[in-house]
């Protein structure tokens, strides 16, 4: 989903919210073995496990330093000494891609946290209480939605200044709407169900009803969606670095590495191509994981 992040995010949202909304209800029915039936889940989790280990054990997996420049070894094609070649400063690309996993995986996870929390909170309040709280929240959603995702993020980053921290802020301000809408529509579907009405009838307070009863039934689609969103934000961070608005060189961030390799694409393709492949593999891992969790939660319907 990293591609043209902007447009796909609304689209994915539109496509998935419908199918995901139903998933939560069936969560209770799935036995724990159905998780193992999902091939997507297993493949996605395995790739991710490898990537996370690569990030954690990077210093032990390579003899080089990510920033160490060896001018006499510049622009070497992949070899035994340098499995992914070297860049124009003679830095080992394998090392940089490994260390890049540390940055990019962390970026994806951190970036998804705040919009997730903000969105779920606002969505819960809007969906459960309705009335003016709902109107207010939905108008805010309308306004944020009117901006193209990437344009608004670039605009905010331009005001706050470049860098990853400001990207997190920009994403939090923009991306919460997806979670708010997703959880709101699920809660609207749950609100008048017997168990909620029963809990209200015996005098349970609203906070307790939301957290104890409604929440477990509506949170799963959001978690599934967050998985695919992580892939999106890794692509976004890479894209902003590419535009010079994200992580700055010489940090071994995958997007920045692609960007710095672009002038050499005719002579040294590996400088751009390999970090790009790393983004693709990571994206696929999270997509498979998201799909897999979705599959596991609705055993009956596997399209």
């Amino acid at each position: 989903m990293a591609v043209s992040n902007e447009s796909s995010r609304t689209v994915v949202d539109a496509g998935q919210s419908a199918t995901l909304a139903g998933a939560a209800r069936e969560v209770r029915q799935s036995s724990r073995w159905t998780w193992l039936r999902s091939r997507n889940l297993i493949i996605g989790a395995s790739i991710l496990a490898i990537l996370v280990s690569a990030a954690i054990f990077a210093p032990w997996l390579t003899p080089y330093e990510p920033q160490a420049q060896v001018p006499e070894e510049a622009l070497q094609s992949p070899s035994l000494d340098h499995p992914f070649g070297t860049d124009n400063f003679g830095r080992d690309m394998f090392t940089r891609v490994l260390y890049g996993a540390r940055i990019d995986l962390r970026v994806g996870v951190i970036a998804v946290l705040s919009p997730f929390v903000i969105g779920v909170l606002i969505g819960c309040i809007a969906g459960y209480f309705g009335g003016w709280a709902d109107t207010l929240a939905m108008r805010a959603v309308d306004i944020v939605q009117a901006f193209p995702f990437l344009v608004l993020v670039i605009f905010i980053v331009s005001v706050l200044g470049p860098g990853l921290r400001n990207m997190y802020i920009a994403v939090a301000l923009v991306a919460w709407i997806v979670y708010a809408r997703l959880i709101r529509s699920s809660i609207l579907a749950e609100r008048n169900k017997e168990y909620v009405v029963a809990a209200q009838a015996i005098g349970g307070n609203d906070l307790r009803i939301i957290t104890q009863h409604v929440f477990p039934n509506v949170i799963t689609p959001c978690i599934v969606f967050a998985m695919t969103d992580i892939a999106l934000y890794i692509g976004l961070a890479a894209g902003l670095s590419y535009l010079g608005l994200g992580e700055r060189p010489p940090a071994p961030e995958w997007g920045a590495m692609i960007s710095s390799g672009q002038p050499f694409m005719t002579t040294a393709w590996w400088i751009s191509a390999i970090p790009g492949a790393a983004i693709v593999v990571t994206g696929i891992a999270f997509s498979l994981l998201g799909d897999g969790i979705g599959d596991a939660l609705r055993p009956g319907s596997r399209a």
């Binding site: 043209s4 608004l152 692509g235």
Partner: protein, 313 residues
């Protein structure tokens, strides 16, 4: 509610949203550190010059008056002068928008050319080798960042095969088209997977439905069942999604325009951000937001025509 009323109501609903958009852009631009007059004049300006420009730009007035000026200027399309290019922003933006809109248009065509045949093929040959290949390939192009896809296409199709220009926009109409192929293909490869997924699953859903059973039972040929019943219904969600996609493409061309050095409005936005050319940044952001709103409105209206079941509530 009649369709006319529905459209009217949607238009009225747009007003507060547009208003809020202008307010957000205005407030955020005022939050930028630094004196706009100083930025406008550059580092060598004297205090006297700064004072004159401050007065000309209305920066000495209270903030709500400045917002009033801002709104008035928007309505009269007087968007000020670009600090970087020293020409009226409206002229600049319009010439750049034409490029971006051409990219969107050609991308839309590519998306249809990719999505319709592949989506239908994958659904009708469900679980076959073709279906699996299409779906795996899509997963890859979907997670590829657009600038990476673009670079790979340049390496493969421009540098190695010399089929398309590496970058730029050319001077004549045919040159423009030639330059638009790779950027549009880049965007289409990223977006089509989602449409193909939705098209595939809606076709499969339609194939399972009672009306298709009925159509088959009454002896229609399979081809007629597919074209008259299955596709007609399966295309409805796809068309809506297509509209949302086109809306998303407004401004979604930013990175791709940079990769291919196209003189579009998205590239203009990024360049203006780098040059701290705020009159251009705010106008470009506003125009992009307006285009998204309009495309979404058009999609909703189109949807209400396509699907008679839709509630105009």
């Amino acid at each position: 509610m009649s369709r006319g009323q529905y459209i009217l109501r949607r238009l009225v609903q747009m007003v507060p949203v547009v208003f809020a958009i202008t307010l957000i852009i205005f407030i955020m631009l005022r939050a930028i550190p630094g004196d706009p007059a100083q930025t406008f004049l550059g580092d060598k300006a004297t205090d006297q010059q700064i004072e004159i420009v401050t007065r000309e730009m209305g920066l000495d007035k209270p903030i709500y008056v400045q917002y009033g000026y801002y709104l008035r200027n928007l309505v009269t399309l007087d968007l000020g002068d670009s600090l970087k290019y020293r020409v009226p922003v409206s002229t600049l933006l319009w010439s750049r928008l034409k490029v971006s809109l051409s990219v969107v248009l050609v991308t839309g065509i590519f998306i249809m050319l990719l999505s319709l045949p592949l989506g239908i093929l994958a659904a009708l040959k469900k679980d076959s080798l073709i279906d699996n290949i299409v779906r795996s390939a899509l997963m890859v192009t979907m997670v590829m960042p657009s600038f990476y896809t673009g670079i790979l296409l340049i390496i493969g199709l421009s540098i190695k095969l010399d089929l398309f220009p590496v970058s730029g926009y050319g001077d004549t109409f045919t040159e423009h088209l030639h330059h638009l192929v790779l950027p549009s293909l880049t965007l289409a490869l990223g977006i089509s997977p989602i449409l193909i997924r939705v098209l595939r699953s809606s076709i499969l859903e339609a194939l399972d439905s009672d009306y298709v059973n009925t159509a088959r039972a009454k002896g229609l040929t399979e081809q007629k069942v597919i074209t008259l019943h299955v596709l007609r219904n399966a295309l409805i969600p796809t068309v809506t999604l297509f509209g949302v996609t086109i809306g998303g493409l407004m401004g979604g061309t930013v990175i791709t325009e940079k990769v291919f050095a196209l003189p579009g409005a998205g590239a203009l936005l990024v360049d203006s951000v780098a040059a701290r050319d705020y009159p251009t940044v705010q106008s470009a952001t506003f125009i992009f937001a307006m285009m998204v709103i309009l495309v979404n409105l058009a999609t909703d209206i189109l949807y209400s025509f396509l699907d008679p079941r839709v509630e105009l509530g």
